[in-house]
């Protein structure tokens, strides 16, 4: 049978069998509603409480500071809209970055259409926001800064603690209605996270990026921070998110968080070693490649590479037909090109943005997996380059410059 290698863990991860095992009873006999007073309800309530404790431990928070939601997207919506609506009397200015996930970008855009002002900070070629830019962007009517902890396409880790420091300084100067949110959906389970050290007020998480099922996320809201609930009509999650709790998913998320905390160092070490081996292999075997994002300040599982002269989607399908799953940030639809806004924000030209491919490893990716990819990838790139007019032109120009060869 053909080998199958999944290198798209930034899109989603497989569910850990230990997580499945933990959640199964809550899909079968332990079906109670946590709001019910009887034993069935108490059993479910206890499970939710325990899971909340485990997720809180993953990020160094108090359990009551966590709100379970349906996804990372919902966590981002709740954080940004919740703060924006609550703080509207004090100002309607939001600061964000140019490389946020669509679930942050989309909410900011929607608020913009309703009268909020949004400042989108650029990133350098390394994919990092400059703290000085944040400082310069803060205005008296700024109520929210939302900048992701780690980027989903290139994995760069933003200077969140430094930005928090700025925010605290601002507050000391009397700017009391200013809050700081960070989207940690990609970061969780791939780097140590401690909300006290990060100093943020709100932080988004999603279960399916750390070996729990899809459909469960959480928003950390520092004690004392008030936000306008976006889901109304029930007292769940201390009135901040109505709706009967998704008990099996919450239990699964708790278990996954527990495992992520226990195994974090080993996972990081393993993924980083394999990722670095992969990148060395690519650099040795393939010419005209550009590695995107800061070399050190980035998540250990991810590698984003632009292959000159070709387009990422062709490479994706080529690899897929050989059992290798990766992803691109660009989408070409109905004749309009949308080269990855993230790669474009690094200042790369359109060809490099279109040629960018994301390889994201998981805790169970093996050396054999990487070797197989290193065997297949150079041929796939070469076969696409052979039919590329850009490549032929470059070859021609090179031959002209060195006529002796």
């Amino acid at each position: 049978m053909k080998r199958r290698v999944y290198l798209d863990h930034s899109a989603t991860t497989p569910i850990d069998p230990r997580v499945v095992e933990a959640m199964l009873p809550y899909l079968t006999e332990k079906f109670g509603n946590p709001s019910s007073v009887h034993l069935f309800g108490q059993e479910a309530r206890a499970a939710v409480d325990r899971a909340r404790q485990l997720v809180a431990e993953l990020i160094g928070a108090q359990p009551q500071e966590l709100i379970f939601v349906s996804s990372g997207t919902e966590a981002n919506n709740l954080a940004i809209r919740g703060i924006a609506e609550r703080a509207a009397p004090y100002g309607r200015h939001i600061i964000t970055s140019a490389i946020e996930h669509p679930s942050v970008r989309g909410v900011c855009q929607a608020l913009e259409q309703r009268g909020w002002e949004v400042t989108r900070l650029p990133v350098g070629e390394d994919g990092l926001v400059r703290v000085e830019d944040v400082r310069a962007a803060i205005r008296p009517d700024t109520v929210l800064i939302t900048i992701m902890l780690a980027n989903n396409e290139i994995g760069t880790i933003q200077p969140i603690a430094e930005i928090s420091h700025l925010v605290r300084e601002e507050r000391q100067r009397g700017h009391r209605h200013l809050w700081f949110h960070t989207d940690a959906v990609q970061a969780a389970g791939r780097m140590a996270i401690n909300v006290a050290e990060l100093g943020c007020d709100l932080l988004s998480l999603s279960g399916h990026k750390l070996y729990a099922p899809k459909g469960i996320g959480a928003l950390y809201v520092r004690r004392g921070v008030q936000l306008a609930p976006q889901m109304l009509g029930g007292h769940q999650e201390r009135d901040r998110r109505a709706g009967t709790e998704a008990v099996p998913l919450i239990v699964a998320f708790g278990k996954a968080a527990e495992l992520a905390r226990q195994e974090l160092d080993a996972r990081i070490e393993r993924m980083r070693a394999l990722r670095d081996r992969f990148e060395r292999g690519v650099a040795e075997r393939i010419t005209d490649v550009v590695f995107n994002g800061h070399r050190e300040r980035r998540l250990p599982h991810l590698s984003n590479i632009s292959f000159r002269y070709i387009e990422g989607e062709g490479l994706l399908i080529n690899l897929d037909l050989q059992g290798i799953a990766v992803s691109t940030g660009s989408a070409c639809s109905s004749g309009t090109l949308e080269p990855s806004p993230v790669i474009r924000a690094l200042g790369r030209d359109e060809e490099l943005a279109r040629g960018a491919v994301r390889f994201s490893l998981g805790k169970d990716t093996s050396e054999e997996d990487i070797d197989y990819v290193l065997e297949v990838l150079p041929q796939a790139v070469e076969s696409l380059r052979r039919i590329s007019p850009l490549y032929h032109r470059a070859l021609g120009e090179r031959a002209e410059r060195s006529p002796s060869n």
């Binding site: 062709g314 004749g335 076969s383 850009l390």
Partner: protein
């Protein structure tokens, strides 16, 4: 999402490259998405003897380049001029609607090549 024929052409493109003694070479690009297709034809006594392509862009553009060279090789110039986008789509087993522009680019490039041939 894509047909078997499509995948086959993507992984094994036919007639890729340049021609040593082409009768005509044209390169067209889709101004909106930047996809490019280059066609080179060698024509002898009103018949397309050989066709080669180079393509850059999304997979349907690459595949349409490969398929169209197969379709026109051996055809008379008049018959080649009658090929439509639908003929191309039928041959490759359809395309998602948002990728239709790839077939349009291929037919457009062919038309242009044949026009230029007549003009010479």
């Amino acid at each position: 999402m894509y047909s078997e024929i499509f995948k086959d052409h993507l992984t094994h493109p036919r007639n890729a490259g340049e021609l040593a003694d082409p009768s005509v070479v044209v390169e067209e690009s889709n101004p909106i998405c930047g996809d490019r297709l280059r066609l080179a034809l060698r024509v002898c006594e009103g018949r397309i003897e050989e066709a080669r392509f180079l393509a850059y862009g999304c997979p349907p553009t690459l595949v349409c380049g490969s398929i169209i060279t197969e379709m026109i090789a051996g055809l008379s110039v008049q018959d080649a001029a009658r090929l439509t986008r639908q003929d191309l789509l039928d041959k490759l087993g359809g395309l998602p609607s948002r990728k239709m522009h790839a077939a349009a680019l291929a037919i457009e490039t062919l038309r242009l090549a044949l026009e230029r041939l007549r003009g010479d």
